[in-house]
């Protein structure tokens, strides 16, 4: 097993490189993905090695990126589209929701759109507006799309390859503030042996309360669990990984043991993933719950100015505060 220490950004870059190597039909397209290597350098060096027919700098129009990728997919290509920032995906919303998501359904299975839409998302990097949003609920709400998000370099490396290999259209959310965090990545393991794409995973076992998180909030939840352990409370942290479909099998099992559940995400709470998760946990674990499922989320405001984003974003203390409240019920 050849493990390397990679940042999440480099792990994604390495995974994309593998996908380009393994399938000549894979094409990467987006704004600045070529010579520049993307504004976050996730496609760094790929155009140099695979050429401008495989790694395509597109005109600056998001609907055009997704719409032309639909045509390429009908032609038999496997487009991997980069949307530069979360807040810029909305011009492509129609193409994603009305075209990408529905082609397989309305064609009765005759048309497949094996497209991956990569979106760096979430806050915490001190950015100007439209650069810190969490649009996962919009896409998770849309039948026909699958939505996944990675939380660590190993998952970044394997999940991007699994998403590209999948015939489902997949919105692939990358927690941009975690791009520079490092971890061990097994770059030689066969993709077939990787942890399943649409499955949640226990990131830290525990006995006293269950914390569900995904993407950028997994690190926050793990930090909270470390702090809680110092106070003698063992939190079980589950990384959901797949937001559509949701895999709550391990969450149900966990909550039935702990009786307490806190869901954490950066996106606003109103009608967010946490609402759906809380409803399902309540349906499945009603007799095991010692308290209601609580949510720790961004507030129902537009993403605020960077100098107050630390207060907007869920952090270790807000997670622990919610855990405390589940015990005070």
């Amino acid at each position: 097993m050849a493990t390397e220490t990679l940042t999440l950004g480099k792990a994604l870059n390495t995974g994309l490189r593998k996908a380009l190597e393994n399938d000549p039909k894979v094409v990467i397209m987006g704004e600045d993905v070529g010579k520049l290597g993307g504004v976050f350098r996730i496609t760094d060096g790929l155009q140099k090695d695979f050429g401008d027919q495989r790694v395509i700098d597109t005109p600056l129009a998001e609907s055009g990126i997704i719409g032309t990728a639909v045509g390429l997919a009908i032609r038999g290509f496997r487009p991997v589209c980069e949307i530069q920032f979360d807040g810029f995906v909305y011009p492509a919303y129609d193409q994603i929701v009305s075209q990408v998501a529905k082609m397989h359904y309305r064609s009765q299975g005759k048309v497949r759109i094996p497209m991956v839409i990569r979106i760096p998302y979430g806050g915490g990097i001190g950015a100007v507006e439209h650069h810190s949003e969490s649009p996962e609920a919009y896409f998770s709400h849309t039948a026909g799309l699958k939505v996944v998000t990675c939380a660590n370099p190993q998952d970044g490396y394997s999940m991007i390859q699994q998403a590209i290999a999948s015939d489902d259209p997949i919105v692939f959310l990358e927690p941009k503030r975690r791009y520079w965090e490092k971890g061990q990545v097994d770059v030689d393991a066969p993709l077939a042996e990787a942890y399943p794409l649409h499955a949640a995973r226990v990131a830290r076992p525990g006995t006293d309360a269950t914390v569900l998180a995904y993407g950028p909030m997994v690190r926050t939840a793990l930090d909270a669990a470390t702090a809680a352990a110092e106070d003698g409370r063992e939190l079980e942290v589950i990384d959901l990984r797949s937001l559509s479909p949701l895999d709550l099998t391990s969450a149900y099992e966990s909550v039935k043991r702990t009786g307490r559940c806190v869901v954490v995400h950066e996106a606003p709470g109103n009608l967010g993933l946490g609402a759906e998760i809380a409803a399902r946990i309540t349906e499945e674990c009603f007799y095991s719950l010692e308290s209601p499922v609580l949510r720790v989320t961004g507030f129902d405001t537009p993403y605020p100015a960077a100098r107050v984003e630390e207060e907007y974003l869920p952090d270790l203390d807000r997670v622990l505060d919610a855990v405390d409240r589940t015990f005070g019920w």
Partner: protein
């Protein structure tokens, strides 16, 4: 070349001066090869100096006439089916037969078409059974067919969205190295005058231009986007928009099947040889309603419709065939009877279309399925079964 074809005797003659032709047509720079009276024009110049002409045999002329009549008759049958409650909706192509048959017949076998929801005539010319899109309008399916099997994409209802799909597909053609020869592939994107205001169409223009995609943008300007006249979409003739994007544009008489064929064939051949995209504005008129849900008497006057009726695409072709003795009354009668028989056949099959089983609504949401949906399907099935044997 058959006797009586004006193309033989006048071949090589220069087209009339542009100013004179424009005055005669009453529209600027309109490529026309067959006048509303059925007079044949040997050749016509496009705005960039391209000379357009056609070279049909008598059999081919008669074939185009047959297409026009059949397409109109099948369309009328679909309208009747909607009126009788057998279709939920129908978007009639009445008046646009020449633009669709001309461009549809200009496609070569290997070419790919991306239609709106009104290209029933193009579909017919692709050799596709006209029953195929009727499931969509009857409400028994979503209009699902394999675009690659028929070289004809599924109908697209969101205005202009398919122009981007066509552009991407055309980029793929070029990436596959399928341009640069007579056997090259070309792609055609259909849309209307209203769609030219859409961002997607303008983005498609940009993309096709900078990637030099083998693509023909075929705009049927039928003068109305439901109720809104062309003046609400543009202050310049639509074909001139192409210039700003960096490729040629041409306006053709969309009620002239010969000119529609000529300009489309030229544009497709240019594209398949790797010489980039172009825009065709087929100047025509929607003689009927936008769809069967629309009432055009609320927004346009009868005299306007009558003026366009005088430019009817089928009447002018019939006049031409008659004058040139390419076809006689027995031929026209035979075609009418064939059209009637095909429409009866279509009707019978529409009435026989079964409703889908409700549980099939869960099918094909994802190629790889979804455990969440599997569970919903199971719950729904159980719920439905709970009614068995009851009053439901």
């Amino acid at each position: 070349m058959a006797k009586g074809d004006p193309g033989v005797t006048s071949r090589g003659r220069r087209a009339a001066p542009r100013s004179k032709r424009a005055a005669a047509a009453g529209e600027p720079e309109l490529v026309q090869l067959l006048t509303p009276d059925g007079e044949r024009i040997e050749s016509a110049l496009g705005p960039d100096g391209t000379e357009y002409r056609v070279d049909f045999t008598d059999e081919e002329y008669r074939g185009l006439y047959r297409d026009l009549v059949l397409v109109r008759k099948l369309d009328a049958e679909a309208t009747a089916l909607q009126r009788q409650g057998e279709l939920g909706l129908w978007a009639s192509l009445l008046g646009q037969e020449a633009a669709q048959v001309g461009s549809g017949r200009a496609l070569r076998t290997q070419d790919m078409a991306f239609p709106t929801y009104r290209e029933h005539g193009v579909l017919y010319c692709r050799g596709i059974d006209p029953i195929m899109p009727l499931g969509l309008f009857r409400g028994v399916d979503q209009g699902g067919w394999d675009p690659n099997e028929f070289k004809f994409n599924m109908y697209t209802i969101v205005i202009g969205a398919q122009t981007l799909h066509a552009t991407g597909y055309a980029m793929g053609v070029a990436m596959d190295g399928k341009t640069g020869s007579d056997d090259g592939e070309a792609v055609i994107a259909y849309f209307g005058d209203g769609a030219t205001s859409q961002g997607d169409v303008n983005e498609a223009f940009v993309w096709a231009s900078v990637f030099n995609a083998p693509l023909v943008f075929f705009c049927q300007n039928n003068q109305y986007a439901i109720s809104e006249p062309l003046e609400r979409q543009t202050r310049v003739p639509l074909y001139r928009r192409a210039g700003g994007f960096g490729f040629p544009g041409v306006r053709v008489d969309g009620n002239d099947v010969l000119a529609s064929y000529a300009v489309t064939r030229h544009a497709l051949d240019t594209a398949r040889h790797g010489q980039g995209p172009s825009l065709i504005e087929a100047y025509t008129y929607r003689m009927g309603a936008h769809t069967t849900s629309d009432d055009p008497t609320r927004y346009r006057i009868a005299s306007e419709v009558e003026a366009w009726r005088a430019k009817d695409p089928i009447a002018r072709m019939k006049a031409f065939l008659t004058k040139q003795q390419i076809a006689d009354e027995s031929f026209f009668t035979e075609i009418d009877e064939q059209a009637k028989a095909e429409s009866v056949h279509l009707r019978e099959r529409v009435l026989a279309m079964p409703n889908p089983e409700p549980v099939t609504m869960f099918d094909h949401v994802y190629p790889n399925g979804s455990p969440e949906l599997d569970e919903q399907r199971a719950q729904f099935t159980k719920y439905m079964e709970s009614f068995e044997g009851s009053a439901h």
